[in-house]
């Protein structure tokens, strides 16, 4: 517990947390705006002739539960990236500023230090989620009112919000693992962003191209892309047509987080600090 307190103080006593918050705020605003446009279009807009094979998808998205779930998890795409970056920095800043020597002198049990970092990062991820969700509940209700849909707080909606929290927690842990694997602050940050943004966009293009060629079953491979797995995990309605089940996304993401955390800890235990 002392160690977690120390890790949290490390973050509080530097400017990184409010820098990330400052970057995140406008991104959150932009996604809220787009979600508003999209929700409005789905409910009130004239989408024209919807191809028959996509009609199911649109119907699923138009469901009030789905609309509410989407709005109450607003900002997820960038928010997850922010907590991943936070997780990365929790580790790499120790090497960047050479404080890792002091840290391991204070506590020679390196697994305990890594566990504290994982707990602290996960906790911060959850705090990030709590703040975002509080803002989303207010803004989401406003958006639903504006487009003429009654605000819904059903079990499915809360499930989406809860799974969103799990995603924040898991991405923070993934960040810590990535930070241990790539100790360079800049290297880890850039790799993380590329994997998160480029990886998901690239993978979507690749997978849909392959699916077009070899059949829909390829869509199941989306599961293996961490950012797609997490968006699958939190998509608040029952299975979107053509997509794998929600729990599978959760399983994959938890798997990645566990592997990153365990491999990272094992690496740190062995490493010479010089």
């Amino acid at each position: 517990m002392n160690l977690v307190r120390s890790e949290l103080l490390k973050i509080r006593s530097t400017s990184i947390w409010w820098i990330l918050a400052l970057i995140y705020l406008p991104l959150w605003g932009i996604t809220l705006f787009f979600n508003y446009i999209q929700s409005d279009a789905l409910v009130n807009g004239d989408l024209g002739e919807v191809p028959a094979d996509q009609a199911d998808t649109f119907d699923a998205l138009k469901d009030p539960d789905a609309l509410a779930a989407n709005l109450f998890t607003n900002g997820q795409f960038f928010g997850l990236m922010m907590v991943m970056l936070l997780g990365i920095i929790v580790v790499t800043s120790e090497f960047f500023h050479q404080t890792v020597t002091t840290t391991f002198l204070t506590v020679p049990h390196r697994s305990a230090v890594m566990l504290a970092k994982l707990v602290a990062a996960a906790g911060l991820g959850v705090v990030f989620w709590l703040v975002t969700t509080a803002a989303n509940l207010l803004s989401g209700a406003a958006v639903l009112g504006a487009i003429g849909v009654d605000a819904r707080y059903t079990g499915a909606v809360w499930e989406a919000v809860g799974l969103n929290g799990l995603a924040y927690l898991l991405w923070a842990i993934l960040g810590v693992g990535l930070g241990v694997l790539i100790r360079s602050q800049i290297g880890a940050t850039v790799t993380g962003i590329l994997l998160y943004l480029g990886g998901s966009i690239g993978a979507v293009i690749l997978i849909s191209t392959l699916a077009g060629r070899f059949g829909d079953w390829i869509n199941n491979l989306q599961l293996l892309v961490p950012s797609l797995a997490s968006s699958l995990m939190v998509s608040g309605t029952d299975d979107l047509p053509g997509n794998p089940p929600q729990w599978a996304g959760a399983a994959v993401l938890i798997g990645y987080a566990l592997v990153a955390g365990v491999v990272g800890t094992l690496l740190v235990r062995k490493r010479d600090i010089s």
């Binding site: 002392n2 490390k10 006593s13 530097t14 800043s93 020597t101 002091t102 010479d272 010089s274």
Partner: protein, 311 residues
């Protein structure tokens, strides 16, 4: 901290035994053994690349030895339950987050070590950094960074202090402060191990020396003993307008006489009173007569000659 918390076997002695570190191409430390006694300042000396820092890092469980052991008060560092209450270490001047204030740097350590956070302010006061407590680390001078490092090492009021090149970057005032500070700690009965390449400073500071080169032990012992064991004894400097006469007189008294570029006579084999008597007897006028003691630097260079260098 009360002494009651320490086990009776924890006398604060450092024992390095057969310590070896093999890197891919270099044997940085090679079967090194020495002991460091409590209540004294021990200088850990060696040319650059001799393996000093690697040795200290193995002692502190930061680097895993290839072979051998290093214990502090009979325990490996990794086995100490509250390491900061036993051992304080200052390894790098730059080891704090640049955006963090000095006091917060110490509070982070206190939190991790389970020490009361009031210790942070106390340790800052101990090293005279209180006025800069709330300044960020990036605004610290090198000397202030060294002091902050020492403050961090003192947080747990440790029995054993280990410092790697603490005088680096200190101004003369800072060096004098450090000397007094460390001597005082040793006087209180603590073990103080200081690595340095500043030999003149070590001569003033250290009671014992451990000299290594090429990863191997060259000599260990009290400073006076190590210096006394040197082949060169005290040497007498004489300046006189009648150099030839005096040289002849001294050679008659079986002394060796060299002349340096300024024409000063450097006399080995007899002491200063003997030189004075010889001059008086020969009726030679003297302008200077002094004894040159071998300094630690000379001893160090003689001991490590041919063993230093890039490996």
């Amino acid at each position: 901290m009360s002494d009651g918390q320490r086990s009776p076997t924890d006398d604060g002695q450092i024992v390095v035994s057969g310590l070896t570190k093999q890197y891919r191409n270099v044997r940085a430390v090679d079967d090194l053994s020495f002991t460091v006694a409590p209540g004294r300042v021990t200088g850990f000396l060696g040319p650059n690349g001799a393996g000093k820092t690697t040795t200290l890092r193995m002692l502190l469980n930061l680097v895993t030895p290839t072979a051998g052991t290093a214990t502090i008060g009979g325990h490996r560092y990794a086995d100490l339950t509250d390491p900061l209450r036993h051992v304080g270490a200052v390894l790098e001047a730059s080891s704090a987050h640049k955006g963090r204030t000095g006091i917060n740097h110490l509070k982070v350590i206190c939190a991790a070590a389970g020490l009361p956070k009031e210790r942070a302010a106390e340790a800052l006061a101990l090293v005279g950094l209180t006025p800069a407590a709330k300044r960020k680390f990036k605004g610290y001078s090198l000397g202030m960074k060294q002091r902050l490092g020492i403050a961090a090492a003192m947080l747990g009021d440790p029995r054993v202090l280990i410092l790697d090149e603490p005088a680096n970057g200190l101004d003369p005032e800072g060096i004098r402060w450090m000397r007094g500070f460390l001597k005082n700690l040793a006087h209180e009965g603590r073990t103080v191990l200081v690595s340095s390449h500043l030999l003149s400073e070590m001569q003033l500071l250290a009671d014992d020396v451990v000299i290594i080169a090429g990863g191997k032990l060259i000599r260990q012992g009290p400073v006076q003993e190590v210096m006394g064991s040197m082949t060169k004894g005290a040497r007498v400097r004489v300046r006189t307008p009648q150099a030839d006469q005096l040289t002849a007189a001294l050679r008659g008294a079986s002394a060796t006489v060299d002349v340096d570029e300024q024409g000063t006579l450097l006399v080995d084999g007899v002491d200063a009173p003997a030189v004075g008597r010889a001059a008086l007897a020969a009726g030679v006028e003297l302008h200077e007569l002094s004894t040159e003691r071998p300094d630690l630097e000379g001893v160090f260079l003689e001991l490590t000659a041919g063993k230093a260098g890039i490996r």
